[in-house]
């Protein structure tokens, strides 16, 4: 019987190639989209799970308010790891990672540096913590001594090759000589240390053993014993404040107790976060590497479910519509003795068959577009063809889709009554049009929702990118790592300024793009208490900073090289005025200091000489906070404002100057507006992903609508013929056929616009600086939906309307 079902399925599909194509293709698109999203989510969920004992590893987070604004950090104080190991038997191992960012590294006997983007000081038990094996060297002793380091395979290959690295000498940051004591495999791509290539022994770091509980600079990871009670451990973490931190603070603030600490609104709450939660759930001010977002996972899951549901709905719709053609078959089968259940099984076999065809097609499509998708999502996902689990899940999911999409049509068709469907030529209405119409409404509602989302996301992106930033990011080239210039930063700047196209240049480590910066605690002269402390970013710049970046002064003056006292002057931003509670005019001349808690004679004050208009230095998700600029030495980069002409020539001229001043050192530069754009990468990607899947969902909905329109025109051939004989014009008939569908789109618009407006308004709340959802965005979505529907249905309607009525009536 099953064989017979399969045979019938195959033949009836072959006989209606158009219908089969619409159904298979629609399902395949939905499945391929969902498959890609599933792979993406699977990858996001896999982060850090590959480490041995990953389920027992936790990171100690700190929720801190100590003067200033509350902060959430993934880092803890230096003595944390040691203390936890010593005081808590349920801690099997605790290690520290002190992130070091980029380093310049070279073999001892060469002069040109290579830049490694991510490095860290780690305890020698770091490898044991994460179960990392070495390719060469001794994993237990590798980082026990000062001035030793371990390279990953990729880093080692740049200099020596994997097998020759151990025992070699390397110079780090032109500061010291280090011995390579091990080479390890590259960190997995889906781990939080994926970008780290150089691990330096903790004893090499001079501040690693000072027992300082007040600053939080070390990522502390603990591995718990398998039986550990995490609730009890959390209590232990809560007691650290009283036992260690307060005694330490008392050295600086004699007489401070835990109670008085808390009374002034301060807190430090430590907590243990599972390693495997970090990627999706941790959103700290600093992280070892950029994390994903749980929100995006949710959004994408919804999109995937939408896609499959759309495709399933399509399938149901087309199948029931086309079942007219099968009505006779059902009738005959019933008179020949078929049960309802037999027919249900037969139609389910057919839908299962189509689903598997679609599955094959979907896997093929997914395979082909995977490179594009990886590009879009910034991933390196591959389809795990060799994994039996993958196939099992895929086939299981396909069966579910098959049953979901086939059940309604199967029961629908098996209900046909033989006496009715065998009468005449068999073509009459089969009913169920209400269900079909509601399904079309549903499909369009989802498509319109996605259009609204896409429009709003793009508008917001556009808004961010074109918003008045308060500084001029155009044509600014940033030359990095100028601390390699052997102290000749000033002459570098002078030389660069002599180039014709260069308008100005400034030496600074701070630029107004989102990056990891921490605030510093300040207080106003005469208000030297904990409670009055204000937290603000403290940027070290030079005298040309304001002019190069086009910052606008609203009060006071710029730094002036001719006024020596300006070296201890600061310029604040507008937001600081609010924190200090003064007007711009009154702020000039005020003195502030960061020497909190010191005795009066030890305090160094800085005088406010100017106020700049607020400028966006961080993501638009965040409000502009207090900030002060002061003159500093040790700049990290040179920002160069250029004209719009001869950009390439100017860049190579700058490179020439660099190579003369710092021979052999890497010439790293970027343009400020690129960096700015990069910081909205996540939104950009979200926007792109939205638009891709919006197009897909519209495509699926169109396939369905097209199928229905075709069917509808066929069904109404007789009606159209009669109308024409009675004098209806072609345009009247096509109008009639089209408006039926437009009514459904109208309903979809009525349903989806309020939902879309509400949902996108919620999404926008994430941004401190945002657009409002405007009526025209909703209108645009509605208009697009109508236009798409008219285009899809119009062709079929006109085609049906021009048929000669003699022909259509005879056929009846």
């Amino acid at each position: 019987m099953f064989k017979n079902h399969l045979k019938i399925a195959w033949r009836s599909l072959k006989k209606q190639p158009f219908f089969t194509f619409l159904n298979t293709f629609g399902l395949a698109i939905g499945m391929a989209g969902a498959l890609l999203i599933a792979l993406y989510i699977n990858d996001e969920l896999s982060y850090d799970k590959m480490f041995a004992d990953a389920d027992r590893i936790y990171r100690i987070n700190a929720d801190v308010k100590f003067g200033g604004l509350p902060e959430q950090l993934g880092e803890s104080p230096e003595p944390m790891a040691e203390t936890l190991m010593r005081d808590y038997p349920q801690v099997e191992l605790a290690i520290r990672i002190r992130d070091q960012g980029s380093v310049l590294i070279r073999k001892a006997n060469v002069t040109s540096n290579v830049k490694e983007l991510n490095s860290a000081f780690v305890d020698s038990t770091f490898f044991k913590m994460f179960g990392l094996a070495f390719l060469d060297g001794d994993v237990t002793t590798a980082l026990t001594e000062p001035n030793t380091l371990v390279l990953t395979r990729t880093a080692a290959e740049k200099h020596f090759g994997v097998n020759n690295a151990v025992g070699q000498e390397m110079v780090l940051n032109n500061l010291g000589t280090f011995r390579v004591t091990g080479v390890m495999e590259d960190m997995p791509k889906n781990s939080l240390l994926r970008d780290h290539t150089v691990f330096i022994s903790m004893p090499s770091f001079q501040f690693a053993q000072i027992g300082h509980w007040g600053s939080l600079n070390y990522y502390t990871f603990v591995k718990m014993v398998p039986t550990a009670d995490m609730a009890a451990f959390q209590e232990g973490l809560d007691s650290l404040l009283g036992r260690y931190l307060i005694p330490w603070i008392q050295d600086y603030y004699p007489g401070m107790t835990e109670a008085s600490f808390r009374a002034s609104g301060n807190f430090i709450n430590y907590s243990a976060m599972p390693l495997t939660d970090i990627h999706l759930q941790s959103n700290m001010k600093t992280e070892l590497s950029a994390n994903g977002s749980l929100q995006n996972i949710y959004i994408l899951s919804f999109v995937a479910i939408f896609l499959v549901v759309l495709a399933v709905v399509n399938f149901m719709n087309l199948s029931t519509a086309y079942s007219l053609k099968r009505a006779k078959e059902v009738g005959v089968r019933k008179t020949l003795g078929s049960d309802k259940s037999d027919l249900v099984r037969q139609f389910l076999t057919e839908s299962g068959f189509i689903c598997f065809l679609s599955l094959l097609l979907a896997v093929g499509v997914a395979f082909l577009v995977l490179p594009l998708f990886n590009d879009l999502a910034d991933k390196a996902i591959s389809i795990p063809f060799q994994n039996p689990m993958f196939w099992a899940i895929l086939i299981g999911a396909t069966l579910v889709v098959g049953v979901l999409s086939g059940t309604y049509p199967a029961f629908f068709m098996s209900r046909f009554i033989p006496v009715k469907v065998l009468k005449g030529s068999g073509l009459s209405d089969v009913g169920g049009s209400k269900v079909r119409n509601s399904l079309v409404v549903f499909q369009f509602a989802i498509s319109i929702l996605l259009i609204v989302a896409t429009v709003v996301v793009y508008q917001q992106l556009n808004f961010i990118q074109s918003k008045e930033l308060g500084y001029d990011k155009a044509q600014i080239l940033v030359l990095e790592d100028i601390n390699n210039a052997n102290g000749q930063e000033q002459s570098l700047k002078r030389e660069v300024l002599r180039l014709g196209q260069v308008q100005s240049a400034t030496l600074s480590s701070f630029l107004p793009t989102p990056s990891a910066r921490t605030g510093q605690t300040f207080f106003k002269e005469g208000a030297n208490n904990q409670e009055d402390a204000i937290n603000m970013e403290n940027w070290r710049v030079d005298h040309d900073y304001l002019s190069t970046l086009g910052l606008e002064l609203i009060a006071g003056r710029d730094f002036d090289v001719r006024i020596p006292t300006d070296s201890s002057a600061v310029i604040i931003n507008e937001a600081t005025l609010k924190t200090l509670n003064v007007s711009a005019e009154n702020a000039i001349g005020l003195r502030i200091s960061s020497d909190l808690g010191a005795s009066e004679e030890d305090i160094t004050y800085q005088t406010i000489i100017g106020v700049v208009r607020n400028f966006h230095y961080d993501s638009m998700r965040k409000n502009i906070e207090a900030l002060c600029l002061g003159i500093g030495r040790f700049p990290g980069s040179l920002a160069i404002k250029m004209g719009t002409q001869e950009v390439t020539a100017t860049v190579s001229a700058i490179e020439g100057i660099w190579n003369t001043i710092a021979p052999g050192q890497p010439f790293n530069y970027y343009f400020l507006d690129d960096s700015f754009n990069d910081s909205y990468d996540a939104e950009q990607r979200l926007g792109q992903i939205f638009s891709v899947f919006t197009v897909l969902s519209i495509l699926i909905a169109c396939l369905g609508l097209f199928g229905l329109a075709t069917f509808n025109a066929q069904r109404r051939t007789k009606e159209i013929g009669i109308r024409k004989v009675l004098g209806a014009s072609i345009s009247q008939i096509s109008y009639r056929l089209t408006t039926d569908f437009l009514k459904m789109v109208g309903w979809a618009i009525v349903i989806s616009l309020p939902i879309g407006w509400y949902a996108m308004d919620k999404w926008l709340q994430d941004f401190s600086y945002r657009i409002e959802v405007q009526w025209w965005m909703l209108l645009l979505a509605a208009f697009l939906a109508i236009a798409i529907a008219v285009l899809t249905v119009g062709y079929q309607s006109i085609r049906a309307a021009v048929v000669n009525p003699v022909k259509s009536l005879r056929a009846e």
């Binding site: 017979n4 019933k334 003795g337 049960d339 037999d342 006496v419």
Partner: protein
Amino acid sequence: MLLQLKNIFKWVNSGGQRIFLLKDINLQVEEGEFISVMGPSGSGKSTLLNVIGMLDTFDEGEYHFLDESVHTLKEKHRSNLYKEYIGFVFQSYHLLDDLKVYENLEMPLLYKKFKGSERRAMVADMLDRFNIVGKKDLFPAQLSGGQQQLVGVARALIANPKLILADEPTGNLNSQQSEEIMQLFKRLNEEDGVTIIQVTHSEKNAAYGSRVINLLDGRMV
């Protein structure tokens, strides 16, 4: 006695009025009869045939088939009953276009759960008996109307029904093809003892039968 209809009424309500499709039908059919039902369009011929074939219900009256009271049976039992004893032949043949001749013949057997070997034997026998062995791998669309109806009759017969119900079996055929089908019916009736009830417009075809029932506005006249 094969079946008996007693005071059968069937009606539909239209615009507050009751329109009778069948009115007080009393009919007794013995095994081995060949009955022709005649009457003008809309007189209720097909309705009567559908009621006899249990494809359609009636509103009043009694229907006995063999020893069963059809009017008291549930849908499931009714369908089991006609599945076992009744074969249908249609004016427009109603062969399944997607199935070959062989498969069309096999289908009723599939529903009656015959084994593969039995099915093969029975289909081969039928092909042989109707002289259509050469056509077994063709699709219905590749056959002439007469040949299609031949397959239709063969399909109705294959599971050895006691009763064949034929609704204008020659309505779509030319006179020569008509003749052949009617001869076939006659032979089946006389030689194999199959009971046949046919609906027809043609006096000539009606003459093949042993009894003629005339209907007018749902009433036997």
